[in-house]
Each structure stands twice: as structure tokens, then as C-alpha cells.
């Protein structure tokens, strides 16, 4: 069954390749062993400069981006970058499994044999020793350990005070203003069919989904994968097929090496985006999530509590048990 589903997603992705048109293709500069980043975005011009800066510092060698009908100049900015290949599409985000069909096609075409990082523009990958060891070190080590996928929790970051007052400007590190997070209110259950963990919780569950926690967004992600043509993500990067790749956790009590995706979504840009996405209805669950956010008056959208922790570095996260060095020392 899962094999069929995988084939279906792959076929779908192959069909949807027609929706993509090339804006700038620099993939011939990709060398064997390069670390690739895959990302879909829409009207994120304000976030792109820092996004590129952050991931270049981690050692991403090439960015493969899909611009989904943006109109704010982000596309032109991305196309100018020497290490970016850009495609664009006007097709619906919802109809493409939330951008996954496009990325699956690009991954099939370009990522085979590479370590591939798949993230959104507001997600910042943190892994053990990320301040001293580049992504290639992580990739090499995982290779040597015969590990093909790397798990993370997505940690929602928020400012102290109303979200609308955390004013983000182009080029800025969003984690300077959205630097608070919930340390220990995440719940986990196991998805027997896909074998992944389903993690929920954090400020969104606490503030927006207390009455219906089942609907709270999934926070488990497998963003870093030694790609093979056979692979395909299932829903965002929460799950991947073949399902063995979802086993990024140990069940005997040990800790595997894992990381965190810092999710810098809750900035002043968020209110407008929530309204736009709620009406566009292209997101998961018919953008029900965005509708919930849009309902909350802006001055009240304050996620901070006195038990929020202020972000310092990966060692803090590892001490809190939000990620683990595992066997990597």
C-alpha cells in the first residue's frame, strides 16, 4: 500500500513538473557531495536575504527554490543569487500537496546522492555543534554511521509582547526579535502506519488549539535526508517514504542525534499573512489554522508566558531535551 502511495506521489510530482517554469537554472554548478537546500516560497522578499545568509553560513552549497506566484520582488532577488536555481509557478499551493509535488520533482531530478535540506523560509535548522561544524560534517558523519535521515522538532519562536509589535525588517535575524519558546509542553504519539512520531504542543497548541488539541499543527519534521530518487515526502516534511526513513528516534531508551527547526513565524508580518492565507485557503486543512489565528485580535496575540525561555544556542536546547547530540561527540 505504502509503495503504491509512494509511486503515486512520485508520478504526481512528475506530472506537476509542467507547472514549473525555469527562471534561473544554475544546477550545472552542483558538484558531487554538495549540500542542497529545497524551498517553496510566496511573497517572502523581506525574509530572503537573511535566509540565504543563515544557510550559506551553515554550508549549503546550492539553493533550489520555487516561487509560488509571488509579486513582491522576492523572485528577482533570489534569481540574482549566484548559488540559487529558481523556478516559478502560478499553480495552486493546495493542489500541489502544499508545494511538495514541485519539490519532489526537483529532488528527483537534482538531489540523488546528495544531502538535501528541505525547509521553509521561516525555518532555521539547528543541529548539535552547528556553531562549529558545517552541514557537511553532519552529512559525512551520518554517512559513516549508515544513517540516511535526520529528525527535528519544529520549535515555534515568538516575541515577548504582542506579535504585531515585533517589527521585522529585511535582512534582520528574526531570532533576534522572536527569541522565546516553550521548553517542555510537547506531546508525542507514534504513527504506526508511517512509523513517524507525531509531535504537537508548544505555544500554538496552548494559545490557539486548547479546545481541540488534535487539530494542533504537527511539529515533527525530517528535513535533512541523504536523497535517493526513490524517496518522496508525504505531508510537508513531517513524513517521508519509504517509511524506514521516519525512524529517526530510538525505542529502547537511547537517544539518536537530532536537531531543531527554529520556526520564526510569529513576527509583525504574521497578522497580514494570516488574513491573506485564511482567505486564500491554500494551506493544510483548508487553512483552518490560519483562520484561527486571524480570529484573534492583534493586540491580544501574545504568546509569551513567564515560563517561556529565551533562546541562547543549541547547547541550551540540548540541555532542555529538545534535541540530542546522541552519539556525536
Amino acid at each position: 500500500m505504502l509503495r503504491l502511495q509512494r509511486k503515486r506521489w512520485k508520478f504526481r510530482a512528475f506530472r506537476k513538473r509542467r507547472e514549473l517554469s525555469v527562471v534561473q537554472n544554475r544546477t550545472t554548478t552542483i558538484k558531487p557531495g554538495d549540500i542542497l537546500l529545497f524551498c517553496t516560497f510566496r511573497n517572502e522578499d523581506i525574509r530572503l536575504p537573511y535566509f540565504f545568509e543563515y544557510y550559506r553560513n551553515l554550508g549549503v552549497d546550492h539553493f533550489l527554490m520555487v516561487d509560488n506566484g509571488g509579486s513582491d520582488g522576492g523572485s528577482a532577488f533570489a534569481a540574482e543569487q549566484p548559488d540559487v536555481s529558481l523556478w516559478s509557478t502560478e499553480a495552486g499551493y493546495g493542489n500541489s500537496r502544499f508545494g511538495m509535488d514541485w519539490l519532489t520533482y526537483l529532488q528527483w531530478r537534482y538531489a540523488h546522492g546528495h544531502w538535501a535540506l528541505t525547509v521553509d523560509v521561516d525555518e532555521f535548522f539547528v543541529y548539535p555543534f552547528c556553531d562549529t561544524r558545517p552541514l557537511a560534517a553532519l552529512g559525512d558523519w551520518l554517512d559513516a554511521s549508515d544513517v540516511r535521515s535526520f529528525g527535528t522538532i519544529m520549535l515555534d519562536m515568538y516575541p515577548k509582547g504582542p506579535v504585531s509589535q515585533a517589527v521585522y525588517e529585511r535582512g534582520m535575524d528574526p531570532l533576534q526579535i522572536a527569541d522565546w519558546f516553550d521548553t517542555g509542553n510537547y506531546t508525542i504519539s507514534r504513527n504506526k502506519r508511517m512509523r513517524n512520531l507525531w509531535i504537537q504542543g508548544g505555544p500554538r497548541a496552548r494559545a490557539f488549539f486548547a479546545d481541540n488539541p488534535e487539530k494542533a499543527p504537527a511539529l515533527n519534521k525530517v528535513p535533512f535526508v541523504k536523497w535517493s530518487r526513490r524517496y518522496t515526502y508525504v505531508s510537508s516534511t513531517h513524513m517521508i517514504l519509504p517509511r524506514g526513513l521516519n525512524l529517526v528516534y530510538d525505542q529502547q531508551g537511547g537517544e539518536k542525534t537530532s536537531g531543531v527547526l527554529l520556526h520564526a513565524k510569529f513576527l509583525n508580518t504574521f497578522g497580514d499573512r494570516a488574513k491573506e492565507e485564511a482567505s486564500r485557503g491554500e494551506h493544510y486543512g483548508g487553512a483552518d489554522e490560519y483562520r484561527r489565528y486571524a480570529d484573534i485580535p492583534e493586540q491580544e496575540a501574545d504568546l509569551w508566558s513567564k515560563w517561556s525561555a529565551q533562546y541562547l544556542n543549541w547547547r541550551q536546547l540540548e540541555g532542555l531535551g529538545l534535541m540530542s547530540k546522541g552519539n556525536w561527540a
Binding site: 561544524r133 554511521s145 517542555g184 528516534y249 530510538d250
Partner: protein, 565 residues
């Protein structure tokens, strides 16, 4: 020119070249073996790059797969060549392309010159070392291993099983006592040539050809036959993880490696430029002839193995998710579950917190909300007091609370009015200290003065729930420390129970309690219970109260005598 180096090179030729130059600068001739898997073009340019060095030679190439005989054969060839070409060499050091000298090569030479007869080779019998991977220790010498473990894992396993099934045993050659150890050694010319020129070498080689991972046992075993003085340790700092894979050193290990005082370390990540820039260290008269001391390195890597194999108990996260129902200790540390005490005493929680310094919560699993110790709506770690959110995963609500507050003892009130889904989990948790005053849920009903039919119905419901819970606590699977008393027993002598709770929460016996909380006003309680019975609802969990039982807080019968005693 007292030390010669054999270097086995597989990848990262540029780094190997760097290492070779360090050795040559220190006055050591090097014989290089390059894996045949390296392409002819790359090999040619590598040889070319080193052509300016007169004391570097290349040996006959073998195709080296991990754990195969080819590694030994390559070493033998290179060793023969080294001993023949450089007659002044007294010690031979086996290194790899990912090895990096940490201290000046001349210090290593001086160290070895001071110990001209000593062979440095880690070598122990299989009976004494547990660090083999895959459960094969003795068997790696008595079975045959013609299949690659890396490439044909299934056939490998199957063939091992088959041999075990038919009880196949290889004969170990006479006089050979299998030893194992780190593959990175440093042998004297005498020992090494004795091994290479041993008349029985063809027989030994034939035997070891089919041993599993011979590069960890061939020289280790042979040295025992020919050496006069073995120091069973490796001069190369090399750490292995729980799967037998070498740990890798990165730029951030710089300070640790400097402190270790080791001569050579492996494996160095090929892009760790800071390490390649910093080592080998310049000559330093202070260090001189210090002994290597890798204990801090050992600590870091054994911690890593520990984290990977055992992890942090009580932690649930994206990369550690033991099945809650299968674990013994599912939480991070001891905690107390108190049932029926807050109902029996006035201000019990505040009193207990005062006595113990612990965090004493109210009913965490109450239907209206989670009553945290400070009555806040969001607690440590961002836990919400919302009951729907809590009950969505009631077990992890508790594991989270305990993880977030690790270091401080937690106690919470529980009872049949609360969410019951955690019962099995806490019953099976060796960290749980559960005290139940059975039937105490009746006191709030007694004091509420509702209409009697409502009280009767509610009492019957709560009794059913508590009865079911007690069955779980008394099940043979329960591993928690459980104490159950009826309300009647408890009211007769509450002091012992309170003392035990306080002692348990403090982690040590405490001085006798001098201050006790006041019991709630129970005047008319006996008659109330009788009335319930008259209505056909028998409160059997509560225990036997005389019909005229009538205690007021002030004339508690057991309080004063206890204190005097």
C-alpha cells in the same frame, strides 16, 4: 631516523599528503599504501605531489574493504618494504591517512628511543574485552567469514547462523592464542620482522584470511608470539562508538586534543582545517616527555556512547521515544501521588510544601483545570492548565511536568474525581510513591450538604472509580511504591502515614513531625455514613466507622499522645 611509518590511505588524499609531510619533516621515512579503489588519475597525481620527498615510497596496492584480510596484506607488504629500504628504522608506526600527529614527531621519536625494546600494541584476549560489535567475539576466530559484512549483511548473518546451527568450528593453529585490539600499533623492528619471517607465516596467514576483522587481530595475536615486551595500549588516540565506528575529531576538539598529550590522533575530519593548522604542535620544552593522558577525551566519548545507548530517563523527544508502557521507570525521578489527604486535612498542600520544600500541586488532573502548585494558568515548561489539552495526552502531561521540574520533588493530589487514564502508567512506574486514603472522597460530599440523592449517586460513582483504580494498584504488574489505607484506619492514626510521606519526599528520614495540619470537622460523619447505608449505598472503601463517630478538630484523639511519646 629511528621511526618509520606505514600509512594506509583510502580517501582525502590531500590530507594524507599533509600528514606524510609532517612525518617526513620529523625525520621519519614513510611507506604509503594507497587503496586500489582510488582511481589511477588520482593516484598518479598523489604520487607526483609527493615526488619531492626522498624518503617516501609506495607499496603494492590492494583493494581494501572494511574488516577484510586485504588491510593486513597491505600492511605486511608495506612493512616488508619499509624494513628492507630503511635499515636504520627501529620502530614501525602504523598510521592512516586520517591520522594526525598532535605532538612534534621528534617527541614521539624521543619517546620511542627511550623505550627501544617496547612494542606498543593493544592486545587482549577475547574473553576479557566486551567491546565487540554484533555479538561475535570468540566466534570471529572459530567461524568462517567469506562474505562482506558491509555489502552482504544478510548473507553474512545467514552464513554465521548456519555455522552456529551445524556447530561448525575452525581449528585455531597450534600455539596461536587469539588476541584483539586497536589496529593502530607501533612495533619494534625485531618483533615485526619476526612476524613477517615466521616460518609458520603461510599457515597463520591462511587461518587469519577467514577470520572476521583480521586487521584488529592478526598483528595483535602475532605480537604475543614474538614480542619480548608488550605495552598493551595504542599510541594513537582513537575512540570507537557503540557500533565499532571510529569517532571523528573536529575543530571544536582542538583544546581537548591539546590537553590530551597524545602523539597521534584519528580520525580527523578531512575538513577540520583548524586541527590541521594547529597540529603537530611546535616543539615545546615544557611537555618534553610527558605521558599521553587521554582521560578527558575518554570521558567525552564514553558519555556519547551512554547517551546513545541509555539516554536520559524520563525524556521523550523526537529522537528518544521508548514505549511508555514497556519501560520500568518512565519518569525522570521519584514523585508522590497523594490521594485523599487533602480531603482529610485543612490546608494540607501548604503544610506539606512547608515541611518538605517540594512542589506540592493540587489536583493536577481535576476536571476543571490542572491545579498547579502556584495556581498559575501556565506552568514550568509552558504546560497549560487547560483540561482538554492536558487530557489529550495525560501521560505525557505528567512526564513533561516531571522532566521540566527535574531536581525538585513533585507531589500532586489525585482522586476518583480526576482523569483516570494515567493509572496504569503510574502504577507501573518505579518512581511513583502512591499514598491512598481510600474512601476519603466522601468527605467533600459529606461537607457539601447537597441533596441526599445527588450525594448518593455521586458517592456510588466515585466508589466504583476508586475501586477500579485500587485493583490496578494491587495488580502484580504494579511496580510503584503503593500504600493504601481505608479512611477509618487513617483517621485513627494519621501520624505514621504523614511521617512516611514527608520522609519519602525529603529522600531521608526526618525529625519527628512537630506541626501537623488540622483535620477537617467530621462531627456527624458516623451518622452520615449510616444514612448512606440506609439508602442502600454501602461505602465499603471507607472502612468501618462507628455510627456515633464524631471527631472535631480540637479533640483529635491521637494527636497529643503521639507527640508526647
Amino acid at each position: 631516523m629511528s621511526v618509520g611509518v606505514i600509512m594506509l590511505v583510502h580517501t582525502a588524499l590531500d590530507r594524507a599528503e599533509q600528514a606524510i609531510r609532517h612525518w617526513v619533516d620529523g625525520g621519519c621515512p614513510v611507506v604509503v599504501h594507497v587503496d586500489r579503489k582510488v582511481g589511477p588519475k588520482q593516484y598518479a597525481s598523489f604520487v607526483d605531489a609527493l615526488s619531492d620527498l626522498e624518503t617516501v615510497q609506495f607499496s603494492r596496492r590492494h583493494t581494501c574493504d572494511w574488516g577484510t584480510w586485504a588491510l593486513v596484506a597491505a600492511t605486511q607488504d608495506a612493512a616488508t618494504q619499509l624494513l628492507d629500504s630503511f635499515p636504520k628504522v627501529r620502530h614501525v608506526y602504523l598510521a592512516s591517512g586520517a591520522c594526525l600527529p598532535l605532538r612534534p614527531v621528534s617527541e614521539l621519536c624521543a619517546y620511542l628511543d627511550a623505550r627501544p625494546e617496547t612494542d606498543f600494541i593493544e592486545s587482549s584476549t577475547t574473553a576479557d574485552v566486551p567491546w565487540t560489535v554484533g555479538g561475535l567475539d570468540k566466534e570471529r576466530f572459530t567461524l568462517r567469514f567469506p562474505f562482506s559484512w558491509r555489502r552482504h549483511r544478510k548473507i553474512f548473518d545467514l552464513y554465521v547462523k548456519l555455522q552456529q546451527l551445524i556447530r561448525f568450528r575452525r581449528r585455531i593453529p597450534d600455539g596461536v592464542i587469539p588476541h584483539m585490539g586497536s589496529q593502530w600499533w607501533c612495533l619494534t623492528r625485531q618483533t615485526l620482522s619476526a612476524i613477517l619471517k615466521d616460518p609458520k607465516r603461510p599457515a597463520h596467514d591462511r587461518y587469519f584470511r577467514k577470520v572476521w576483522i583480521p586487521d584488529e587481530s592478526y598483528f595483535q595475536t602475532m605480537a604475543r608470539l614474538h614480542s619480548t615486551k608488550i605495552e598493551s595500549r595504542s599510541l594513537t588516540l582513537s575512540k570507537f562508538d557503540y557500533q565499532g565506528k571510529p569517532h571523528i575529531f573536529y575543530d571544536d576538539h582542538l583544546a581537548m586534543l591539546q590537553r590530551s598529550g597524545c602523539f597521534v590522533a584519528r580520525k580527523i575530519w578531512h575538513r577540520a582545517s583548524k586541527l590541521y593548522d594547529a597540529f603537530p604542535e611546535p616543539l615545546n620544552s615544557v611537555k618534553g616527555l610527558v605521558e599521553p593522558n587521554p582521560s578527558s577525551v575518554d570521558r567525552v566519548f564514553s558519555n556519547a556512547v551512554d547517551r546513545r545507548t541509555r539516554g536520559r530517563p524520563g525524556l521523550y523527544m523526537q529522537s528518544r521515544f521508548p514505549t511508555i508502557d514497556r519501560e520500568n521507570a518512565v519518569t525522570v525521578g521519584p514523585y508522590s501521588v497523594l490521594q485523599g489527604l487533602a480531603e482529610t486535612f485543612e490546608g494540607f498542600e501548604a503544610w506539606l510544601a512547608n515541611q518538605t520544600g517540594a512542589d506540592v500541586h493540587g489536583h493536577l488532573y481535576a476536571p476543571d483545570r490542572a491545579h498547579f502548585a502556584d495556581q498559575s494558568s501556565v506552568y514550568i515548561g509552558g504546560l497549560s492548565d487547560d483540561p482538554t489539552l492536558r487530557d489529550y495526552n495525560a501521560k505525557m502531561f505528567l512526564t513533561n511536568l516531571l522532566w521540566n521540574t527535574r531536581g525538585t520533588h513533585q507531589a500532586f493530589q489525585f482522586g476518583p474525581t480526576d482523569t483516570q487514564t494515567i493509572n496504569w502508567m503510574i502504577a507501573k512506574d518505579t518512581n511513583a510513591r502512591i499514598t491512598v486514603v481510600a474512601g476519603a472522597w466522601i468527605i467533600p460530599l459529606f461537607r457539601a450538604r447537597q441533596t441526599f440523592s445527588d450525594i448518593r449517586r455521586e458517592a456510588a460513582r466515585l466508589q466504583r472509580i476508586e475501586h477500579k483504580q485500587l485493583k490496578i494498584l494491587r495488580s502484580p504488574f504494579a511496580k510503584a511504591r503503593v500504600r493504601v489505607q481505608t479512611l477509618a484506619e487513617f483517621v485513627r492514626s494519621p501520624m505514621d502515614t504523614l511521617q512516611t510521606i514527608v520522609d519519602e519526599m525529603s529522600g531521608q528520614p526526618r525529625p519527628r513531625l512537630t506541626e501537623v495540619p488540622n483535620m477537617v470537622d467530621l462531627s456527624g460523619f458516623g451518622a452520615f455514613l449510616q444514612e448512606l447505608r440506609n439508602q442502600g449505598m454501602h461505602p465499603f472503601l471507607t472502612g468501618e466507622f462507628p455510627t456515633d463517630f464524631d471527631v472535631r478538630p480540637d479533640d483529635h484523639p491521637h494527636r497529643k499522645p503521639y507527640l508526647v511519646r
